[in-house]
Symmetry: C2
Subunit: 495 residues, 2 copies
């Protein structure tokens, strides 16, 4: 078949797979925001059916056959073929029975995790986690080239092409740099100035305004409330963010809207012609996270934007913020306050949490650590790295739902996001000399435009590493992030 015809046929077949993906995404969005609780089992059945239908389509030999010819249509076609082959390869390696068993086990493990959290005790969850780890080891054996239960094979699901060994070396180096920075900063600043009473209705006005200001297109998306904030793409022109509010701490809604809108801007920024094609997905989860982190950390926690934000926020919440000074709130939103909980950790401490998680999950997957030993190992690791011990399992091993959902190999994407974000923002700032003034005026068109061109436009036509390198003139690394962090700590009197 002619290359172009094959490419068109390949994309047409992929479109059905993508329609199933976006349908599942809508069902997932609904589950987290709207669905009556009693409908959970039925929703699970719907999602399992859709996953099965996708699996069938990926294993259809005609899809693989089209890959042979489609690659001849040029370099962009090669990227499309690469994305399809990657999906087919994964579907072929994973037996459907394993995938279905995982769905059941993860669903039960999620419920057990919720119950264990309520009872502050790990033992309710432990047998479920044991089974999750067993199946995850089986999955890793299917995916790895040598049949070993390799954590690297799990990482590859989220970060295509990232070398696990190099990544671990980077993380080790980062830990060495960060530990003393956190130690020195801890206790020198407080977030108290941004706590107080923040009525929900006025927070919603604020959040709506911030989302629009950053560039979120409300005609092509929406904002809802949920327990664990997320961003989900339910279709072309349909990107939905869900955030949470804290009545006594306005940082919760502000950081979560900036974070999720960052994800949404990436999804909304994939060129229309690429949407729904195999290479139309954002390039990696780490790069995705870089977009959320950039808007959350570089923009929302930055001094320029607060010049614009503070007068508005103070007018909206006079009870809490009347007379608040710019330097006070800038310190408050950047206060280094090490604690046992990863979510909501400050920028300096955050990546240390990630290093600990990766250390522990690698040991679980390799078999070096048994699930029953996990709470002790957790305490030991936190004490060693952050000098603190969680007061119970809820503050410890039960704090996240990632492992109960089978998300092993996922935590690195958070740190990669932080590193990429700092590097991309540094390059954007160099390319856009008036950026600080624009942010101080609440204008973000230029920054978003730069990200559209240098990141969003590429979708998966290039790897995350290629995109970051081309955009910044430097291979991804820790330099820009550490420079950003040191500057911010110095500016806030914590350096």
């Amino acid at each position: 078949m002619d290359g172009n015809a094959a490419l068109a046929a390949l994309c047409a077949r992929w479109r059905d797979i993508w329609l199933l993906t976006t349908t599942s995404a809508l069902l997932g969005w609904d589950e987290e925001t709207m669905m009556p609780a009693a409908a959970a089992d039925h929703r699970g059945e719907q999602l399992a059916l859709l996953a099965g239908l996708q699996h069938e389509r990926l294993l259809d030999d005609r899809l693989a056959a089209l890959c042979e010819d489609a690659g001849e249509a040029g370099p962009e076609a090669l990227a499309q073929v690469r994305a399809v082959r990657r999906a087919i390869d994964r579907a072929r390696r994973l037996p459907r029975a394993l995938v279905e068993e995982q769905k059941r086990v993860h669903a039960a493990a999620q419920r057990a995790w919720v119950e264990a959290r309520e009872r502050h005790t790990f033992s309710v969850f432990a047998p479920h986690l044991t089974r999750v780890v067993e199946l995850k080891r089986a999955e890793a054996r299917c995916l790895s080239v040598d049949g070993a239960a390799s954590w690297a094979a799990l990482l590859d699901e989220y970060e295509p092409g990232v070398d696990a060994r190099a990544l671990c070396a980077t993380l080790d180096a980062l830990r060495t740099e960060l530990a003393p920075l956190v130690q020195r900063a801890a206790g020198r600043a407080s977030s108290a100035r941004l706590r107080g009473t923040f009525p929900r209705e006025r927070q919603q006005v604020l959040i709506d305004g911030v989302a629009r200001m950053l560039g979120f297109d409300m005609r092509r998306g929406r904002i809802d409330v949920t327990t664990h904030p997320f961003c989900s793409t339910a279709g072309t022109h349909d990107v939905r963010v869900a955030i949470r509010y804290h009545d006594q701490d306005v940082r919760e809604a502000l950081t979560s809207i900036a974070h999720e809108v960052g994800h949404a801007l990436y999804e909304q920024g994939v060129p229309a012609a690429l949407q729904g094609t195999p290479a139309g997905e954002p390039s990696s989860l780490g790069l995705h996270e870089s977009q959320s982190r950039l808007w959350e950390n570089q923009v929302l926690r930055g001094l320029p934007f607060w010049r614009h934000l503070l007068p508005w926020v103070a007018r909206l919440f006079p009870e809490a913020l009347e007379g608040a000074r710019l330097d006070e709130v800038f310190v408050a939103i950047n206060a280094v306050e090490p604690g046992p909980i990863r979510v909501g950790a400050d920028e300096a401490t955050y990546n240390l949490h990630i290093c600990l998680r990766i250390e522990l999950e690698q040991a679980l997957i390799s078999g070096a650590l048994a699930v029953r030993e996990l709470p002790d190992a957790w305490h030991e690791a936190y004490h060693r790295t952050l000098g603190l011990v969680p007061k119970d399992d809820r503050e410890g091993v039960l704090q996240d739902g990632h492992w109960s959902a089978g998300m092993f190999g996922y935590f690195p994407t958070y740190t990669l996001g932080n590193l990429y974000a700092a590097q991309l923002f540094e390059a954007a700032r160099a390319a856009l000399p008036g950026l600080d003034d624009e942010m101080a005026a609440g204008r973000f068109e230029a920054l978003l435009g730069w990200l559209r061109v240098h990141v969003h436009a590429h979708a998966s036509l290039r790897s995350a590493t290629e995109i970051v390198t081309a955009a910044t003139g430097e291979a991804p690394g820790t330099r820009a992030f550490l420079a950003h962090l040191r500057t911010r700590l110095a500016e806030t009197g914590q350096g």
Copy 2:
């Protein structure tokens, strides 16, 4: 294959079809309540894919083969097989190309209808409606036994087994009885006492309370806001109603919540063991409508319930209803006020609208009436029957979206619902001597319990006619409805 094994296999295959049905229902619910407008095209693609997947499954020969053996498992199994065969038969008769073309044409026609309404002019919509009618005639030819473009074949889609000729005779008789009743009542009462200012937040409190009081299980459903009220089943334990509010008229929200909750109680009342099986659907749309009408007309427009409702509503809306007397509001919510619009018409006038629609759509399908002649024919029919003429096409032929959506043969279900509702409520009242007192105390368990046993429990194991006859001891007819209407007109000084 053993009958029971075949039945189990049949139900297992049907379950996937049902999961696709409920998934489509969720997508449809989202489209009407939550979806960003720009996502409409993508949503259409998702729904078309799901419809195609269902079609494939219905045409799978293994499904038909299982019907052969499954029927031997007993009388309930026969009902299951009947439901499957009906669906297969329809899928086989309708070429996929026709179904897909209809989906596209209906989507375009719906958009043209919205635009035509905005511009108050039929000509924008006419070419689209012409195409819809052509395809509907093609569909009728595929479905009818003799290959003629028969309206009866379209009716059968919504009302399995109802004889079109007998139905038309019933409607003619009804029209003859109703026309003089309406003429006599018109202008003798007014709905003004229930108009005024009704702040939205307090209306929501009222609607939430009424829904719970009638028996709607909020753990297994939800209530949202939409343009055209509806009820949708997105899964087991997931029945969603959507209603609308009018800031100046509390009747809008009250009647729409009672109506949609009536549908929802039926869906929530199908026995768990039957849900998701072929015979697990409510028996017909007319019977479905009887449940909505019963709660809307017999209950919510009845004097007993207003004994309970009025003190509460008057407390919630003192601006509008302070000092309102029971007799005043009972008259106001039952005022016969003939007008050009079907939706929101009083109980007496309502079925005359339906008779007119059926007369017109039968002429369109038979070919006796051309689309370009429709506005004139509409005016003539309204003038002849109700003695009034719509002031423009928006008040006339453009008032409903049914025809643009291809829903020909659907209007009779409204009148059948009214007839069945009166007959069922009369029987329930005879069986439950304390019913009026219970309604006056805001208690509906006994009424709901009676409906559960006599209607909901049967799902599609019996036909609507069989269910109504068994529940009331009388074949479906107009007697109970006319008796109910005459009583109510007399009680409100309009008889």
